[in-house]
């Protein structure tokens, strides 16, 4: 049963270790495979992703501008009735109203224009016929979007709506407009992309409106001129046509040894082109960055898994070791108890006949091997036990045996006492017990002799020591036994009880 249990524990540990190793190998292998697959597919995805990414980005930014335009138009449309209802009785109150609207819409320039092309702003009133191109028309019929190229290189988006029926200060007004700095629009567009791509706003002839640069390729100047010598002629001509037709387009080209991807989308109504450029390597880096991040996570996962499994295995083994040890200790304890029980005389607590037989066998091996010199055997027999049993009962007989045993143990402190029969005891003396045997036996005999008179415990003892010719312990015992019978006769003569009585 114990052996089966050992085998079961070993199997369990082995299975746990092998299982753990297999799981670890599986996790590592799967992760590495997935990482390698991701990395190998990255390059293939880059081209497709770059066009999609740039188009999506360009479209999003174009929508931002379109929304900006539409929102400003809507704001102006909604504000006109409010302006008409204001009690504007002087140029000062008109300026104040314009100032409120400017603040409300966070505009740099919001203005109204009367029928004489006089422009009213928050702080100035000026004749604007030559300054604003939309004023060359006698009458405005619809919304107008234009790009203003200001002296001083600033470029602005101008949004105009007609103001039919608006009369202020007794004069009909023909238009109201906002002007937005295109560099401010570029800043707004750059907000969602901190430096990963280059972009610019251009008019249809390629003039840079946003004062942004497309990296080192187009540093602020006309994009069509700047790319003329960089792009293959057919692609450059197509780009020029696309700009003129306000059409979508994209191309990838090499510049200074690097792959560049450029995409352009028209911005409806504004007459602008949104151009976005990204270096192929940046996309690669970004995607590779994502892959590496995933790889790091996988590695971390592997590490954590391995660590957890090792920890688990260590804890498991420790627990198994501890359980095994506890079981082993318990079994040893049981064994010792069992052995002790098997070798102990239940009545007296001294070693029994079985123990004597085991010890005798062990001593015989030593005697045969001449490994022992100091050995004495004391043969003991309780006098009068039968008489006590017969006259006083077995309980009294048992008590006599116990008293005899106690007496022997008291005197043979350095020897081993065995109860080998009902009233027979043997004492084996070695080393110190051997050296003090005569004194001990003499002392005990004196007590025994004194007990005859008091009806105490009387033990007949004979002893013998190992002699060179002895081949086994029994040789010694026989001499001791003979001596014990002789002593028994002596004691009888002294008055001790005997079996015959």
């Amino acid at each position: 049963m114990m052996k089966d249990k050992d085998i079961s524990d070993k199997n369990f540990i082995l299975t746990a270790v092998i299982g753990s190793l297999l799981v670890m190998a599986l996790v590592i292998g799967t992760t590495l495979w997935a990482s390698n697959e991701t990395a190998s597919e990255t390059d293939e995805a880059v081209t497709a992703v770059s066009h999609f990414y740039l188009k999506a980005m360009a479209d999003r930014r174009a929508r931002i501008i379109t929304n900006l335009i539409n929102n400003n138009f809507e704001h102006m449309e909604k504000l006109l009735p409010i302006i008409a209802e204001e009690n504007i009785d002087s140029q000062e109150t008109l300026r104040a109203v314009i100032g409120k609207i400017k603040t409300l819409l966070s505009l740099k320039r919001f203005a109204l224009v009367d029928e004489d092309n006089v422009v009213y702003t928050q702080y100035t009133t000026y004749t604007g016929g030559s300054r604003h191109a939309f004023l060359t028309a006698d009458k405005l019929n619809k919304r107008e979007i234009s790009t203003v190229y200001l002296y001083g290189s600033s470029k602005q988006l101008c949004l105009v709506i007609p103001t039919d029926g608006l009369v202020l200060l007794g004069k009909p007004f023909k238009a109201c407009f906002v002007q937005i700095d295109i560099e401010d629009i570029a800043s707004l567009l750059a907000f969602d992309d901190p430096g990963r791509t280059c972009f610019g706003l251009y008019d249809r002839s390629g003039v840079n409106l946003s004062n942004t640069s497309l990296g080192s390729i187009v540093s602020g100047q006309n994009i069509l001129e700047a790319t003329k010598d960089i792009l293959p002629k057919p692609e450059w001509e197509k780009m020029c046509r696309d700009f003129d037709d306000e059409a979508y387009g994209g191309l990838t080209f090499a510049f200074n040894g690097a792959e560049e991807t450029l995409f352009y989308v028209p911005i409806p109504d504004a007459g602008w082109m949104m151009v976005i450029l990204i270096r192929e390597s940046i996309i690669n880096d970004q995607i590779r960055g994502i892959s590496e991040k995933h790889l790091e996570i996988s590695n971390l996962q592997i590490g954590v898994t391995l660590g957890s499994m090792l920890l688990f295995a260590a804890v498991l083994l420790w627990r198994l070791w501890k359980i095994s040890r506890m079981k082993l200790e318990a079994e040893m304890e049981n064994s010792r108890a069992f052995e002790s029980l098997a070798n102990t005389d239940a009545l007296t607590g001294v070693r029994n006949k079985h123990a004597y037989s085991e010890d005798e066998a062990a001593l015989n091996r030593k005697i045969m091997g001449r490994e022992i010199e100091k050995l004495a055997v004391v043969a003991c027999d309780i006098n009068g036990l039968k008489v006590v049993n017969d006259t006083k009962g077995h309980a009294a007989g048992d008590k006599l045996i116990k008293d005899a045993s106690a007496l022997l143990r008291e005197y043979f402190v350095h020897g081993t006492v065995y109860r080998t029969g009902g009233d027979e005891f043997v004492v084996l003396l070695q080393e110190k017990g051997y050296d003090t045997r005569e004194e001990t036996i003499r002392s005990l005999n004196e007590i025994v002799e004194a007990n005859i008179a008091t009806d105490g415990v009387v033990i007949s003892m004979g002893y013998s020591t190992l002699e060179p010719n002895d081949e086994r312990l029994h040789d010694v015992f026989e001499r001791a036994d003979r001596m014990m019978y002789e002593r028994k006769q002596e004691l009888k003569q002294m008055g001790a009880k005997t079996r015959e009585e």
């Binding site: 702080y123 190229y149 290189s153 600033s154 003039v207 602020g220």
Partner: protein, 370 residues
């Protein structure tokens, strides 16, 4: 309005490189003939670096208010100028810059900046008399006709109005206007441009003069400078003098007429901003090789200069004129008179630029190197 320094530096570098390639040894401000590339070369030489510096300094967009502390927190001005025209729109941008800077100091400056669609001393007189009743802190005027407007200004000053002149034309000598900010050297500008033309033509041939508005002191002074310069050379003569009334379309028509009527015409002097644009269009259309010199910074004219159609242009610093006009007006409104605080005449420079300067000037003024 702030300039893109990076862009300017790049354009400057490009221009420097071009100048070095085209003019490795020298730079001419008054050329004596064309070299193999068709570009001019001359006796008076300057380094390429000096040239770039001059061109970059032709218009100053980087202004800051001086240390003067205005006495009020609100000023209201009235300015009137000769004609609705892009040249004065450039002046307006300088004024708006100053207005924004005052606003940052907590000082509100409001003003009207008005002109008729056609230059008219009568219209200007009407506007000034109207403004006299408007309670403005200062009235500024770009004199349409000094003979007519100067007495009006005197009357206004006598009645307690604070009047200044600005931009292109001052009032007559002895006028009571408080100060002038603008071009004080129109005659010299006309003379310098014409001198460059005469040198280019090797001091011989027929030259026509196109003027802007009749009676406008700046235009008339330049025309006078041109006439006097041509008169110095015996082999040169004036073939025609015409007024385009500050209209590009009229300038174009007049140029076609002159080219048709004077087939031997060698050169054309343009005294205002619209002249060179209209003339260049006509010259390109007819395929003429007439040499054009002219005034101002019109973007189309600068492109013609870049293409070699126009030989040279006199560029005025309109932005600075506008900025300084408003700053001077604030000081005058506070009761200050010309002296240490501001001069009685603040001169703003004119820089003559040529083909090799065109790209840089386009970049400076319009952010456009085409």
């Amino acid at each position: 309005m702030a300039l893109d320094v990076k862009k300017i530096c790049l354009a400057a570098a490009s221009a420097a490189a071009a100048a070095f390639l085209i003019y490795p040894a020298s730079y001419s401000t008054a050329g004596s003939g064309a070299d193999a590339s068709g570009k001019e070369s001359g006796a008076e030489t300057l380094s390429a670096a000096r040239r770039e510096k001059d061109v970059q300094g032709a218009v100053n967009f980087e202004h800051a208010l001086d240390s003067y502390q205005p006495k009020k927190d609100h000023y209201n001005f009235y300015f009137t100028y000769k004609i609705v025209h892009p040249w004065w729109d450039a002046v307006a941008l300088g004024m708006e810059d100053a207005q924004r800077q005052y606003l940052k100091q907590g000082i509100t400056v409001t003003y009207e900046y008005m002109a008729p669609n056609a230059a008219s001393a009568a219209d200007q007189t009407e506007r000034l008399l109207g403004a006299q009743q408007g309670g403005y802190d200062v009235i500024g005027v770009d004199v349409a006709d000094e003979a007519i407007i100067s007495p009006i200004i005197d009357e206004m000053v006598d009645s307690g109005c604070k009047v200044m002149t600005f931009s292109s034309s001052d009032a007559a000598v002895g006028c009571k206007r408080i100060a002038y900010v603008g071009n004080t050297h129109n005659y010299k500008d006309g003379a310098d441009l014409t001198e460059a033309l005469c040198e280019k033509l090797n001091y011989e041939g027929e030259v026509a003069i196109l003027v802007g508005s009749k009676g406008a002191p700046c235009h008339e002074d330049r025309a006078k400078g041109a006439k006097d310069t041509i008169a110095k050379y015996g082999n040169m003569k004036i073939a025609a003098i015409e007024y385009d009334m500050d209209s590009v379309d009229l300038a174009y028509e007049l140029a076609l007429k002159i080219l048709r009527e004077h087939p031997n015409l060698a050169g054309l002097v343009c005294c205002n901003m619209s002249n060179p644009v209209g003339v260049a269009r006509a010259v390109v259309e007819t395929g003429s090789d007439v040499v054009i010199v002219g005034m101002d910074h019109d973007q189309e004219a600068l492109h013609y200069l870049d293409d070699g159609v126009i030989y040279c242009l006199g560029v005025q610093d309109c932005y600075s004129i506008g900025f300084e006009t408003l700053q001077t007006a604030v000081k005058i409104a506070d009761g200050n008179l010309p002296g240490e605080m501001f001069p009685e005449k603040r001169d703003e420079p004119t820089t003559i630029i040529r083909q090799q300067d065109a790209a840089l000037m386009l970049s400076l003024l319009y952010g456009d190197v085409l």
